[in-house]
Symmetry: C2
Subunit: 334 residues, 2 copies
Amino acid sequence: MIEKGGIHGVARAAGVSLMTVSRAMRGVEGVSEGKRAEILTIARSLGYVPNNNARALSQSNSTLIGVSLPTLFNDVFADILAGMRGTIEAQGYSSVIDTTEYSAQAERRWVERVLSWRPAGVVLTGVQHDPEVRQLLRAAGVATLETWDICDDPIDICVGMDHRAAGLLLGRHIARLGYRRPAFVGVERGQDPRAEGRARGIAQAFGEVGVDVLPVHAAPPDNTYRMGADGFRAVLAAHAPDVVCFLSDPMAFGGMMAAARMGLDVPGDIGIAGFNHLDLNTVLPLELTTVRTPRRAMGVQGARALIARIHGVVQERVVALPCELVPGATVRAQ
Amino acid sequence: MIEKGGIHGVARAAGVSLMTVSRAMRGVEGVSEGKRAEILTIARSLGYVPNNNARALSQSNSTLIGVSLPTLFNDVFADILAGMRGTIEAQGYSSVIDTTEYSAQAERRWVERVLSWRPAGVVLTGVQHDPEVRQLLRAAGVATLETWDICDDPIDICVGMDHRAAGLLLGRHIARLGYRRPAFVGVERGQDPRAEGRARGIAQAFGEVGVDVLPVHAAPPDNTYRMGADGFRAVLAAHAPDVVCFLSDPMAFGGMMAAARMGLDVPGDIGIAGFNHLDLNTVLPLELTTVRTPRRAMGVQGARALIARIHGVVQERVVALPCELVPGATVRAQ
DNA sequence: TTGTACGCGTTATCAC
DNA sequence: GTGATAACGCGTACAA
């Protein structure tokens, strides 16, 4: 419908050739300024928008970067994305977002779809993918960034963090405070590999002080806060822990609310810890014990590395950004 | 790089013509099953992904739906989107997301970009846009859905809700409980037209009981929870209200936390109300007084209407979905 | 069942 | 500074 004239219509209306319109629209040299202004006015009045499919087809280089996120219901990914987008757009690239709902299958389908647009680069969340994803991206020779997690052999490059180390950091802090009956509330196995990594780190920390078991409760899918609250009750009934670590801050908050409802004092009766240090924490009466993750920096540095990679510059293939313990006040003090 | 062979490479490797490969890849008739399997295997091993730019260029019909959201840092839009995506994908369409950060300029640029892909449909959040947006979309003749808000003359079709009516609903409830010194905490003017509509509704409700002023505090941009907390303190100091309505639930929660920190009892000393009824509320010790918005339904019905519109079916141009008051416990009882 | 010619809208290249 | 022509990779229509 838009092609009732397309570039031809504009050219005809302006009394010039296609090429002159093309040059005028793109802002490249080869058109007198007067003519350019005239053409732009006509194009605008005709509602002409260049056809990117044709442009992409006739050119080999693209400025499109596809970004895959597990979900939009998590400020973590919004933070990472915010960091990326600033950089991506400042460099003249544009991004296209999609979510996989934590499904490897959906991620694979998305990779095929985005590759069909011949993007300059692709961003994936995490390092665990359908085997075909790696193969597709490698075969396409497309610059690929994996983020949020790290691994030894990324598809292309990787800017993330070590979730196990982060769990270890948190776990050691908690263990040092004397807790000996920890528990973890997360989601079903395979749903969130990063959370599993953190749980392993926590388990390792407690292993170092002779506690060999970290009971894990997998919350059935629901709203995050309720998952935290229900998970807290479940793990309390099943394992009588003295401290409960949660997959995330929102879940930990749910746990805190459940504790209050049960008449339990935090941290007097039981300790609670979250993960990520999200905005919510800044207003809580009792600051949550958690780990601050470098989400925004990850986005910025990841995008920079990806664009450098697109330009053929390869630095380190894997960059792990550091986390920071937030002692908070939901576990007991020394 | 991927075109080291492209469809030609596959055809050559399989010993057939381009068209046979094309047919095999698309799953249409005209290829023997044996040959199809063989071709698919070869294509896969060669990492061949069809070029969507070429496909889109050669066809007039697209299955792409572009969706514009203000931000990802708000579960409201995640909810709407979740509702849409299910429908969109079930109908064989695919969606591309972008965020505008509440900037009309960014929205206009996005509309141009998405139109350059010749989408089947476009979804915009809200009804207030740069004038050119309307012109571009109308000129392109692309099916367009506006959502989350409503207006009398949508660009094309509109499935949303009446924010002023929602504010009126909430305001009347609060006014009926005897409150007479209301205040509103929102964001700077123009940042969120929907919130302004709700504030107008609240003001109208209080106008009905003879209270003609609704002091409004515009929180400077920050994290939502802190904006709520800081806004609460500011509005309290400036206007000594007996009830504070917030732009959203998360801000209201920030306000509740600030009240607690100031030693104020809610609702004993002061009333608080939010908007949207988000997941957070389900775990709070004191359920927030708020309005439940039909976000998911809006997404589902909006997507259905848009796809019907794409297929040429036009029902009502504007559909307003109803909201529901959640009395909660953060304003005093009757 | 399989292959050939042409067109989609744009840009690069070369000629004027 | 401007215009003509040939790609880009795929799908449609038709021919074999």
